[in-house]
Symmetry: none
Subunit: 225 residues, 2 copies
DNA sequence: TAATTTTGTAAAATAAATGTAAAAAACCCC
DNA sequence: GGGGTTTTTTACATTTATTTTACAAAATTA
């Protein structure tokens, strides 16, 4: 499922967009300002960003510049949504690195058409930084969705694959179970059970001799050694 | 140098665009109607197409559909330029496979910003497939549109053939159902049913003892073993 | 160290995705 | 427009994946 990050301080608009995107089968994440957007980007591998320009605090264009100069995020497509509709605004948005510019007000149909247009092209860039991730004898080829241990391919289930990819893309981070549930499962874990632990266990087993590169930090979560 | 194909019957506009694009360092090609456009596409590997919708003869949208359902050209980005500026025109243009839509009149600066935005993504790769593809006992002769299993010809339907060719040309890739729908069927594959699976099943059956070289990766898609 | 909490893990229960045949619909070629 | 073919949809069987459970083991706390 595709993750879409909505950065928009007007919660009415954000909710409207959220409602429609979810209906269209997307997973949405909402930030009310740029800093919150950056935090979510750190937690969730987003496929597209909808960016309002008029934000409190860090402005939309500043955010866009940060994104575009950051290795990990520079490939994520950005659609600007803004009440500024002058030609010069649009041109400067595009030239700063946005992929499209949608003047407010806009119809949901138009928004969906633009999202689909961009994602259609997206087969070749996955919204994630590197296509091949390596860690010790583990190699993850994201374009081809394959994982190798010491050069030998192993078969992972989808959740195991997502976990491994998240760890490999953030080798220094310890992820709490909540954060893992948010990034990979996509819901708030109200009464959490042992789901994450079970998947970690089976992933470790499939990684054979590298199973112990995934460490658990008591009361904190999981991450790479 | 990037090649840009301009399909526009109004020669004044075409000349204006040509002048500005050349000044910006692009190589331009001009067609006054869709058929001429097709001829140029056959001769020049174009990186982007600017398409006027109101053309004499074959209409712009028809041309777009042809492009998008042709293996060789389907990846070339298309920007529609048109005097039709109603929301529904734009949406239907995007959903037919255009990458952007520029209402007339437009400024050269805007056109250049849009062209640069699209080319920045480097979307243009005109991968020309080999003429004969082989994988284990399967042989696909693309020039003659024939498929052999252990030297014996088998009859495939068009969709089966396209699937097989896509797999054989990308033996390491696992294709999601969405991507298969995009590549082989067309773009607005909204409500997908089990179409892809059904075709995979019949293709497997026709491949006889090699049916299981097409593997399914749960929640991910299909590809070669 | 004992009590408590947290994590590991196998296996059962549940849920979801895929395989497949066949009916229905669409397409195509006289 | 009719007859054959291809494509899509449907329904159900089968397989695979995910979640939950229960208990063991390890870590943390007091």
């Amino acid at each position: 499922m595709r993750n879409i990050l909505i950065i928009e301080d007007d919660t009415d608009i954000a909710e409207l967009i959220t409602y429609n995107l979810q209906k269209a089968g997307y997973k949405t994440h909402h930030a009310v300002n740029a800093n919150e957007g950056l935090i979510i980007l750190g937690e969730v591998a987003c496929d597209i960003i909808l960016l309002d320009l008029m934000l409190p605090g860090l402005k939309g264009m500043e955010f866009l510049k940060i994104i575009r100069s950051n290795d990990e995020y520079s490939n994520i497509p950005v659609i600007i949504i803004s009440a500024k509709t002058h030609e010069q605004d649009i041109i400067s948005g595009l030239n700063t690195g946005a992929d499209d510019y949608l003047p407010k007000p806009f119809s949901m149909e138009m928004l969906l058409a633009k999202i689909n247009t961009i994602l259609r092209r997206g087969a070749s860039w996955t919204g994630r930084a590197a296509n091949i991730l390596e860690y010790q004898g583990i190699k993850l080829d994201d374009a081809n969705h394959k994982v190798y241990v010491d050069g030998r391919e192993i078969k992972l289930t989808h959740k195991e694959y997502e976990l491994l990819r998240l760890f490999l893309s953030n080798p220094d981070t310890i992820f709490s179970r909540d954060r893992l549930l948010n990034s990979i499962w996509g819901y708030d874990s109200q009464s959490y059970t042992r789901t994450v632990d079970a998947h970690i266990a089976s992933l470790r087993k499939k990684l054979l001799s590298y199973g112990d590169v995934i460490i658990s930090v008591s009361k904190t979560g999981y991450g790479l050694k």
